[in-house]
């Protein structure tokens, strides 16, 4: 009884395991980041701090092409996915319950449930026959595929935001003879913006990170950064791939930090 108050939430060993788990999670990532600054020519030997592998990666034309392609696809996919997801979220939350709503939920969340490899081969079969039939083999297929699997990631935060929003303002606008479009444009959309931005960011990160579907859908010479990195692995892991990984990781962390700041502000205003 002389010790500090008995803490009911404490379970023996749990904190130790948790600390070990965090260390295990971060040690490999931190190692990768540190070794991307290795001045030596191999991944095995530390040759002093240097940015040379970043410079080499940045000058590599294959990397440049893949980076541009990754960004172009991610921007298009997140814009398309966010637009259709916003509309669907409005359709499924603002009008109360209706028949078939569950079916819409299932269809929208379908990419989350089907294993990615299965979607990938399905798209391979489907798009390869379209490629032969139409002769078109541009980036359109990748944009289409990425837009589709990004929909649930855009939809969920937007829907959450809509459900957390009081519809009193929209009702008031309608009472003041605003047309449905005016209500949406001047009332709903501004209130919804944080949700839309959050959804778009998640869609962007998901598109940027995709490996499997891109690997199966892409035509020759359409590598994105992740598929380029996977291709490089046929040889040994190079410090250049470490540098690209670290750059991509930094981009993800920046986007996620922004995402958290935006969603935190949302909670702040609501409470």
């Amino acid at each position: 009884m002389s010790r500090r108050a008995f803490d009911v939430t404490r379970l023996p060993g749990f904190t130790t395991v948790a600390v070990v788990a965090f260390l295990l999670l971060y040690a490999p990532i931190v190692t990768l980041v540190i070794y991307s600054f290795n001045g030596g020519n191999s991944v095995n030997q530390w040759g002093g701090f240097s940015l040379k592998w970043y410079a080499i990666a940045a000058e590599n034309e294959a990397v440049q092409g893949a980076a541009v392609r990754s960004l172009v696809i991610a921007v298009w996919a997140s814009v398309i996915a966010t637009t259709v997801a916003t509309m669907a979220a409005l359709g499924t939350t603002r009008r109360g319950r209706f028949k078939g709503q569950t079916l819409i939920y299932v269809l929208i969340n379908q990419p989350l449930m089907v294993p990615e490899i299965v979607t990938a081969v399905a798209l391979l079969i489907f798009f390869s026959s379209i490629k032969i039939a139409t002769g078109y083999s541009g980036l359109g297929y990748l944009v289409l595929a990425h837009s589709a699997f990004c929909v649930p990631f855009a939809y969920l935060p937007i829907k959450a935001r809509l459900e957390g929003m009081d519809d009193a303002m929209e009702v008031a606008a309608a009472d003041l003879y605003a047309t449905p479009w005016q209500t949406f444009r001047y009332v709903t959309l501004p209130l919804l913006t944080p949700g839309v931005i959050a959804g778009a960011m998640l869609a962007f990160v998901i598109s940027l990170d995709d490996v499997i579907i891109t690997e199966f859908v892409k035509s020759a010479g359409q590598d994105t950064l992740p598929t380029y990195m996977l291709g490089q692995l046929r040889r040994a892991l190079t410090p250049e791939v470490n540098a690209i990984s670290t750059a991509l990781l930094a981009l993800t962390v920046v986007i996620l930090t922004l995402f958290f700041l935006i969603t935190r502000k949302r909670d702040g205003t609501r409470d």
């Binding site: 009911v8 939430t9 379970l11 060993g13 749990f14 904190t15 395991v17 948790a18 788990a21 295990l24 999670l25 490999p28 990532i29 190692t31 990768l32 991944v43 996915a81 509309m87 669907a88 359709g91 009008r95 209706f98 028949k99 078939g100 709503q101 819409i104 269809l107 379908q110 449930m113 089907v114 294993p115 990615e116 490899i117 299965v118 979607t119 990938a120 081969v121 399905a122 798209l123 391979l124 079969i125 489907f126 289409l144 589709a148 699997f149 929909v151 990170d209 490996v211 499997i212 199966f216 992740p226 990195m229 996977l230 892991l237 990984s245 991509l248 990781l249 996620l256 958290f260 935190r264």
Partner: protein, 297 residues
């Protein structure tokens, strides 16, 4: 009456673009896979439009080309067995590590809880390929782990971990750990800690508290975490390919093989369907369990 009808019409109309996109680039192509699994294999790749059950037959059996005797396809079975074993082991390891981690985060003071949660979500959103590379750095022969063990004098020769089943298991447990922690955290976060106090008042031991109070109450979170880890593990493609090398394939790599070198699209399609069915069954079990236990879901 008309009001409700227009609600439904509005709902469908607004959802239409999303549904159309998903139909073209997600759900629709799955139907093609289902159809392909019942067709005959083409000469090189692709299919011939002749109805056939060969692909489904070929999932489990093989027919001898000389005398036509039927036997179990050992190669396929060993891949299924490896996939099931590694996925279950991954689920188990992530649970053993994930439960204390989720507990730790959920019991932090409100101010720092968001920070610890953020630390879990960073690896969660980090590219799977990058995380797989990172763990490869650690376990390869000249990697962090072997170097450390040699420097400590525990071993004299590096242990070959990379390109073994153990490497795939370590890699999957590593990349899927956050998927276990997040639903467990959500469940523990809602847990009423007064129940533990009540348990102690009634002279329960710590072990009894864990087994009789905590685990049953957070069961929906446990089921969610296990499903969330098991499902992607079973369909894993990148991690076994990078860490398992060519030999230690899982179902995902085996499916890919049929569309590449194997040139057997119907078999690849049938295997995809099998994987899809197993995954959907797992999800069905999950919805059953969670809707029974938890009115919130």
């Amino acid at each position: 009456m008309t009001g409700r009808r227009s609600k439904a019409a509005d709902g469908w109309l607004l959802s239409a673009p999303a549904l159309l996109l998903l139909l073209i680039a997600a759900s629709g192509p799955l139907l093609i896979v289902a159809v392909y699994s019942f067709l005959e294999k083409g000469d090189y790749s692709g299919v011939r439009w002749i109805l056939s059950g060969d692909a489904w037959f070929g999932v489990l059996f093989k027919r001898d080309i000389f005398d036509g005797t039927v036997s179990l396809a050992d190669a396929n079975l060993s891949i299924f067995w490896r996939s099931a074993r590694l996925s279950l082991a991954t689920t188990f390891i992530t649970f053993v590590l994930g439960l204390p981690t989720a507990w730790f985060i959920a019991t932090r003071p409100a101010k720092v809880r968001a920070f610890w949660l953020f630390l879990i979500t960073i690896p969660f959103w980090t590219n799977l390929l990058i995380r797989t590379f990172a763990i490869m750095e650690v376990i390869r022969n000249q990697g962090l782990l072997n170097t450390a063990l040699i420097n400590l004098g525990l071993i004299s020769e590096p242990i070959q971990i990379l390109y073994t089943d153990a490497a795939v298991l370590i890699g999957m447990a590593y990349v899927y750990l956050p998927l276990m922690v997040l639903p467990l955290f959500a469940a523990i976060d809602r847990f009423d800690f007064r129940l533990i106090e009540a348990g102690y008042d009634l002279y329960a031991s710590r072990w009894q508290i864990l087994r009789r109070i905590i685990l049953p109450i957070i069961r929906p979170g446990i089921v969610a975490g296990c499903i969330l880890v098991f499902v992607p593990s079973l369909g894993a493609y990148v991690t076994p390919r990078v860490l398992g090398g060519g030999k230690n394939m899982m179902i995902g790599n085996f499916i890919e093989l049929q569309f590449g070198q194997g040139q057997n699209w119907p078999l690849g399609s049938a295997l995809s369907m099998v994987l899809l069915i197993v995954v959907l069954l797992a999800l069905l079990v999950y919805t059953r369990v969670s809707s029974k236990d938890d009115p919130h879901v």
